[in-house]
Amino acid sequence: MVPLIGRTLILLSLLAAASGAIIAFTAGSRKSVVGALWARRFAYTYAILISSANFLMIYALIAHDFTVGYVAQVGSRATPLWVTISSLWSSLEGSILFWGLVLGIYVFVATWTCRKHYPEHLPYAIAVWLACGAFFSFLLAGPAQPFHTVLNPPMDGPGPNPLLQNHVLMVLHPPFLYLGYVGMTIPFGLASAALLVGRLGHEFLRPLRTWLLLPWTFLTVAIVMGGWWAYEVLGWGGYWAWDPVENASFLPWLTATAALHSALVMERRSILKGWTVTLVMASFLLTVLGTFMTRSGVFNSVHSFTQSSIGPTILAFLAVSLVWSVLILAMRVDHLSAEGQIDSGKSREGAFLANNLLFVLFTFTVLIGTVFPLVVEAVKGVQMSVGSPYFNRMSVPIGVALLFLMGVGPALPWGRATKQQMIKALVPPIIGGVILLAIGFAVGARNAWTLLALFFGGYTAQVTLREMWLPLVQRMKGGAGIGQALVEGQLVRGRRRFAAYVVHAAVVVIIVSIAVSSTMQQSTEVQLMKGQSAKIGPYELTLQGVETVSEAHREGVLARLSVTKNGKPSGEMLPRMNYYAMSKDPIGTPEVRTTLTHDLYLSIMNIDERSQSVGLHLIINPMVGWIWIATGVMALGGFMATWPTKSRRNEAILRDAAQARGGEAVVES
């Protein structure tokens, strides 16, 4: 029964999406009000249908209904509830279904919030969203059907991939990644609409930026969460390996970040319209490329559990999306004419341009390194990969340059900076740079790039903090109390600006932490018998014994180690090796002790209870914890900037911006 309802829901969602896309496109080209109304209705219908299919699947998973093909494939009576629910995205069919849920929610909310504005743009946007929806419903209806009927249902299933059951981050990482990936469909639709209508004015920039910022924030969190998961689970002591699948999530992030910045220039100067639209479309295309890379099995990676034969279908979707983007860009981009101009490179917009150039360069660097082995294998049949030294060598200088620009840009004024202004803006932050550099040098940093990153980090931190508190100080000078100034200046009127600097501050912390943790790691490998100890940094670890523990869905063998730090007892650490019922191979679970300055990281390489011996990888990773903390702050900043402003207030902001532009225009003439 459940499989039948599920299949019906999916077919109906395919019908709603496909016909809705056609109706919406027609409504857009004929400027029909009734057509637009129906387009919205079809969007809501699609969203409700595909969400219902998801809830049905969640119900089937919880009820252990093994007549449903997907449940028979990944379900298990032994797994705890959180694993059962997250099984929804633990394998291919379910993850495509979940993709539909996320797209449905996005389409619903985006349509709802835009329904009263943008009568010309919205139908086209809906057409694009529903066309994407139709593609994924098509996958679900055919090549990746999760609801096929199992004729002889088993009593119990194998459960999801043990590697995914091993850590709670695996429950969180995929939804965030999907919210980021799928969310890029919305700005893609809006950008397409702007091109098709031939107008990208101030009013339409608002939804475009909001709907770009939201998936960008999710994607940011998802990327770091993936790294965090790898760090906590895979046991090699690092968080980023330039794995093709990691790169796949990083690529759209790079272009989306560039687009967020070029949109700011566009807002101020009414230029870079076609460029911004191109970046937005590229972000979407890169998410599709990323989906292809993870889902098709063309790469060897830890994500290989989701690979399947739907690769060619996704490749076809990528090709269609690419042709669509290139076509409408080529035919319509001249309609988005620039109304302003850049007066001088020595200005904030000049820094933004350099920033955009660097981000695009970064994108190409990573893209080329990721796709190169595929091309070589296709042409010459030789299997190879591009090693991480290539990525490090290329990305470190670009990353450091971006860090520096993050300090220079906000320090410079819009328009044109005079020599005095330049000196006044750019010289004082050197103090911040020198301070951080000195601290780094004092604690032992010697790598040239690390020292450079520390210097620019300090420089940018000083600029960022100054820009954050300047409006506050000004408001307080104007007679406001600190509370009022804080709420008025930072959280209400200047919120977007303030949020942007919160994000910048977090990025500074992240880049510095990456620089320090990747160059100042200490590590050693030891083989310990019961009673023996090993030393690393200030720590001494003694093996107290090897024990077995039994849990419902797994068994574990753990090493009990007593820890002393600088000679003082400091508790126990219990790295372990887990055995899951349905998998012969053990999965290691490293134990990580995080402090504000460093992590102590223990990973088991081999363990034997009979001989009470353990092979351990001991690592001290400086500053890693700050990456996770700063990412949380970054997400906070992202959501703060996305949070909708009341329309009255928005009008005031738009008026301010218009006045500012008017003012500048006077200066220009």
Partner: protein
């Protein structure tokens, strides 16, 4: 990127077009430089996925290159590896065999007749110096049939990221 640099004031049109061409030229030079750096960067950092037979066939290229060698641990070939001594074993694809030396502690699953991927390089002394030893998960790797090319990729796939 061409639209922002355009200056539409009539007085400076000539100037603007000169600027435009200068900008295009600079971008072109930057692009070529970027491509050169990228391609040389990739060329220096390739990791080859080879079987012992591939290695045999490319002996001259193998010394100094970064290689992921995939194959089975030959029965009876494991020597050392306890308490920090150098671990030595043979990796075979049942056609060719390569002698491997490793300094790390072997992972839990390491034993005879198991699929492994070792990353490192060939030395002039004729053995493979291994920096990273990974054991295949899933145990699906089987000895290739006569004339069949063993799928290193599949082996590596079941190994990567799981070590």
């Amino acid at each position: 990127m061409s639209e922002p640099v355009m200056n539409e004031a009539p007085v400076s049109r000539k100037n603007a077009s000169r600027n435009k061409w200068a900008a295009v030229g600079a971008l072109g030079v930057a692009l070529v430089a970027f491509l050169l750096i990228t391609v040389s960067g990739i060329g220096d950092n390739l990791v080859y996925y080879w079987t012992p037979s591939d290695l045999e066939a490319n002996r001259d290229k193998a010394v100094g290159a970064t290689i992921r060698l995939g194959g089975m641990v030959k029965p009876g070939s494991i020597v050392g590896g306890k308490n920090g001594s150098t671990l030595e074993f043979d990796v075979t694809d049942y056609k060719s065999t390569v002698h491997v030396k490793s300094n790390g502690v072997p992972p839990q699953m390491f034993r005879e007749e198991i699929g492994v991927v070792v990353e490192g390089t060939m030395t002039d002394a004729g053995h493979f110096e291994c920096n990273r030893l990974m054991v295949s998960h899933g145990n699906e790797y089987r000895a290739p049939k006569e004339g069949e090319h063993p799928d290193v990729k599949e082996l590596i796939q079941s190994t990567e990221g799981l070590e």
